[in-house]
């Protein structure tokens, strides 16, 4: 099976302090460490496991600049077969629709049976997969937490819905799936693997290499734009209990009794 996984390089929220810069138009970036978006990593692991079972290859693609190629190299070190970087200045400022249009043009260059992306990234938009599928007219499912390959070019997939329940669907190939965390246990990529992949050449494609519908791409075409970042004025918040443990416990017990917490 030929699988394409769309990945993104993001600042890791667990290893960074996210603060807004002085101008308010971006977060402070000097001290950030970046890594592959966690959801995308689960998607790559899933793709590798599928190919291990049924053969084929895994291609990882990202839209960005040269630094983003490092993420592709890491996923190749993990087990993906090929990586492609799509990079061009004209892409800057694209909104979700623009990104999906770029990916659509890339997908149409080759034949992929299955396209995966992580369910969401650092901005929590969770839109790329769904938009890409609609543009390609491929069936789509989001928040996928299980994939079973069936005979006759289709899959049985599970979607994570509320209450811990699971929606089961059958979906025909080619299709687009967005992957939820917990679908598998991604393997560890050691420094050695990363270093081995470090010198690897990643082919880069520009706008001219792809037949992109430029109507949706770039800053002027974007219909959704972020105007600034801000920290919202916080409301009153909780009544904070202070003092030594004994005092606080006493007060809390009184409050709980009053609110019906202790019977």
């Amino acid at each position: 099976m030929e699988i394409l996984v769309c990945v993104k390089r993001v600042p890791d929220t667990s290893e960074n302090e996210i603060e807004i810069n002085a101008e308010g138009n971006d977060i402070k970036r000097d001290d950030l460490v970046y890594s592959v978006n966690e959801w995308d990593n689960y998607a790559v692991e899933e793709a590798i496991q599928i190919v291990d079972r049924v053969g084929g290859s895994v291609t990882v693609v990202t839209i960005g600049s040269e630094e983003d190629a490092d993420t592709l190299r890491r996923e190749i070190a993990m087990g993906a077969n090929k990586g492609v970087l799509i990079s061009d200045e004209v892409f800057d400022g694209s909104d979700g629709r623009g990104i999906a249009a770029i990916l659509k043009a890339f997908v149409e260059k080759d034949a992929y049976d299955l396209i995966l992306s992580g369910a969401q990234a650092e901005a929590g938009l969770a839109q790329t997969g769904g938009m890409l599928a609609a543009m390609l007219d491929y069936p789509f499912a989001s928040l996928v937490n299980s994939i079973e390959i069936l005979e006759g070019n289709k899959l049985r997939i599970g979607r994570e819905i509320d209450g811990g329940n699971k929606e089961i669907h059958e979906i025909d190939l080619p299709c687009v799936l967005s992957i939820q965390t917990g679908i598998n246990e991604p393997r560890y990529v050691g420094i050695r693997g990363i270093r081995k992949a470090a010198s690897m050449d990643i082919p880069t494609l520009q706008a001219s290499d792809l037949g992109i519908d430029m109507r949706f791409v770039g800053r002027s075409a974007a219909r959704v734009k972020r105007t600034d970042y801000f920290v919202p004025a916080t409301g009153e918040g909780a009544e904070m209990l202070t003092g030594d443990t004994e005092e606080v416990v006493e007060r809390l017990v009184d409050i709980l009794k009053a609110k019906g917490g202790i019977k």
């Binding site: 290893e15 960074n16 460490v33 393997r187 560890y188 420094i191 270093r195």
Partner: protein, 694 residues
């Protein structure tokens, strides 16, 4: 006068003359033995390179102490005494064995140098040796088959019980002793060919007892006994010789070599490949031990040398807490695999992966690298290097438990397992009531000092453990030492990173630290973290770093010189006990300095736990081990705090931040809050620092 009893060399067995029969037995026996040993060496020829032929003098000294001197045996008194007797007996009887073999072929054979008076002395000694061996073998056999001490038992998952093999060998040994004694006793009433009366066996020896029992036996019977005893002895001897390489008694032969070739460098871990320098490791196809042949030849020899005594597992904290690790079976399973895949009869089989085959992943991740197993093993078998090598193999294959992936990634990105930012590494110095009272300098090329305090990650970032950093700083300050820390330039020492198999990340952290340390111009390094101490001293070795000291050594030195005094203990009613951290105590042999410090606090009541010093029981492990989620029945730390309570203590003093974390945690989990407290040595000392004297 003709001899009363004829020697086998002069008799005919059935139709075969003695000398021919026994030459044949001897030659066949030796040939078989040589063949078996040659087959046993085949896998070693395929093993990885391992340099063990350096430092001849040191190695010979080790052989004298640990092999000849049986230094470790008395750690288990009963088994120890028994074994010492058996061993001493075997050494003494080696000569007798040779002479016995020869005597069936050449009647007059005398071992060179043992004619005359020396021979006399030898005969007396050997008689008692035989007796000692026999009695010990008998006691040992009863002990194994009737009393069955716990450490020999084989849990069901590891297969059948080993008692049968043990008792068989003891029976063979007993048979050798009995046949030798009978052989001697049966000619005790006769004359030698040149007319002398044969020597009487030594008084009260086994042969002497037999001689007394044979006092009224006919000459005919005596002659029969004499010849049969000899025949039985020779057959048994060569059978035993060929049986040795087939099981745990191979150690009888390999022990001398295994001790000579032992690991001399305590505390350090072997490089990923001895033959390949760090810079070239990237190019290697595969790193770590994935298949049996990836082990070094010396590690394979270790597998052969295991005596199945169970002392290692008996002292293993992971084993005691119900984790799936038993060091004894790490070795026995590998040995059995080797016997199966490299059979005496037949060609070597196909290689299989070890982890997922004879070993489970959890088994290999469960080890805290405390070194208790290596400390106990009388054959100097190594475990830590093998486990680290197997972890390297798993890391190379991307097979790392989920719980460890996050801290490893954080170590790669931020130089500490918590993912906290480098610029916050020195934030512990900024605590309100500390900042004004004690100045901690941040060292770099422009800002140098004599002493570098290497803080390491947990002490820098953990809220509770930062107290150790502040206490250590105040103590150094009190010594009048000009000291500083590396601050944001300090990376995790990488001690556990290495021991969990991520060798490349360790190398990266090590090199960054070495650059920073050299740049700060310090002439000595002090640390309160034994893992950092061990890393700087042993893992970073040979890189030109200044000498490293643990804070307990520094404090002890200052006390000895009378430079600091400690106030009387603040709570004289409490009973203190000192817990030896594995990486300060066992791996680096620093047992006394911390005790000196505690004893320098007037009025402090101190007791020792049964398991102390080199038998200290690990707290549960430090570094990345704090992130690993093991399968266990009880926490290792809980076992340890219960030991402290048993010793009558209500305060555990430790000298390692990880020990402190594990102890405090264990106290809560065991529900012993209020009954037991844990405190670091530096915190205790800081509270008792007397006012500065003029």
């Amino acid at each position: 006068m003709p001899a009363l009893i004829t020697s086998p060399a002069r008799c005919v067995y059935g139709v075969i003359p003695g000398p021919i029969l026994f030459s044949a037995i001897t030659l066949i026996g030796i040939a078989c033995f040589a063949y078996i040993v040659a087959k046993r060496l085949v896998p070693l020829a395929r093993g990885e390179h391992d340099p063990r032929f350096d430092r001849l003098n040191v190695r010979l000294a080790k052989v004298l102490k640990y092999w000849l001197g049986q230094w470790k045996q008395p750690r288990y008194p009963t088994a120890g005494i028994l074994h010492i007797i058996l061993f001493a007996g075997f050494v003494v009887l080696a000569i007798r064995s040779i002479s016995l073999v020869m005597t069936g072929i050449f009647e007059d054979f005398v071992v060179p140098g043992l004619s005359g008076y020396a021979g006399h002395i030898y005969n007396v000694v050997k008689d008692y040796a035989v007796t000692g061996v026999f009695i010990s073998a008998a006691i040992a056999a009863i002990r194994r088959s009737v009393f069955k001490p716990e450490r020999y038992s084989v849990p069901a998952k590891y297969g059948k019980d080993h008692t049968a093999e043990a008792v068989l060998v003891l029976a063979l040994i007993a048979a050798l002793m009995v046949s030798e004694s009978l052989f001697e006793a049966s000619e005790a009433y006769g004359w030698t060919p040149n007319g002398q009366v044969t020597e009487s066996p030594a008084l009260f020896s086994l042969a002497w007892i037999f001689k007394c029992a044979l006092v009224s036996t006919s000459v005919h019977t005596l002659q029969l006994l004499h010849l049969s005893a000899y025949f039985v002895h020779e057959i048994t001897f060569f059978f035993f010789l060929c049986f040795l390489p087939m099981g745990k008694h191979f150690h009888v032969i390999t022990s001398l070599f295994n001790v000579y070739l032992m690991k001399l460098d305590r505390g350090s871990v072997k490089p990923a490949k001895w033959s390949i320098p760090d810079e070239k490791l990237d190019e290697v196809e595969s790193l770590g031990v994935k298949q049996f042949e990836d082990f070094t030849w010396k590690h394979m020899l270790d597998f052969y040398s295991c005596a199945d005594c169970g002392r290692c597992s008996d002292n293993c904290p992971a084993n005691a807490s119900g984790r799936p690790l038993s060091p004894r079976f790490i070795t026995i399973k590998a040995r059995d695999y080797c016997f199966q895949h490299y059979p005496v009869h037949g060609i070597p089989g196909e290689s299989h992966a070890l982890v997922g085959g004879i070993y489970s992943e959890d088994e290999i991740w469960s080890c805290t690298t405390c070194g208790a197993c290596e400390e106990e093993c009388p054959l100097m078998i190594e475990y830590i290097d093998k486990i680290v090598d197997m972890r390297r193999g798993m890391v190379d294959d991307g097979n790392v438990p989920r719980s460890l992936q996050k801290p490893l990634k954080a170590l790669e990105n931020r130089g500490n397992p918590y993912g906290k930012m480098e610029k916050n590494r020195a934030d512990w110095t900024k605590k309100e009531d500390f900042q004004g009272t004690c100045r901690v300098r941040i060292l770099n090329e422009k800002n140098k000092a004599e002493t570098l305090y290497f803080v390491d990650s947990i002490t820098s970032y953990d809220d509770r453990i930062q107290d150790i950093a502040r206490a250590t700083s105040r103590i150094l300050d009190r010594f009048g030492r000009e000291f500083g820390i590396l601050g944001a330039m300090e990376k995790d020492s990488g001690h556990e990173v290495r021991r969990f198999g991520e060798e490349m990340l360790f190398i990266s952290l090590r090199d960054q630290n070495i650059d920073a340390i050299k740049a700060c111009g310090a002439s000595e390094i002090v640390t309160a973290d034994p893992h950092a101490y061990n890393a700087l001293r042993n893992d970073y070795g040979g890189k030109g770093l200044p000498p490293v000291k643990h804070i307990s050594e520094t404090i002890a030195e200052q006390i000895r010189r009378g430079r600091i005094h400690l106030n009387p203990v603040q709570d004289p009613n409490r009973i203190y006990t000192y817990h030896d951290p594995c990486y300060l105590g066992r791996h680096n042999r620093i047992y006394d300095a911390p005790r000196e410090v505690l004893d320098a606090i007037p009025g402090l009541k101190r007791v020792e736990m049964v398991r102390c010093r080199d038998r200290s029981f690990c707290c549960g492990g430090g570094g990345l081990m704090l992130f690993y989620e093991p399968e266990e029945e009880q926490r290792i730390g809980v076992l340890r705090v219960k030991m402290a309570a048993e010793a009558g203590a209500d305060v555990i003093v430790t000298a390692c931040p990880f020990c402190l974390v594990n102890m405090e945690d264990a106290i809560k989990v065991a529900g012993m809050e209020g009954k037991m407290t844990a405190i670091d040595l530096t915190e205790l000392v800081e509270r008792h620092l007397a006012l500065q004297e003029q």
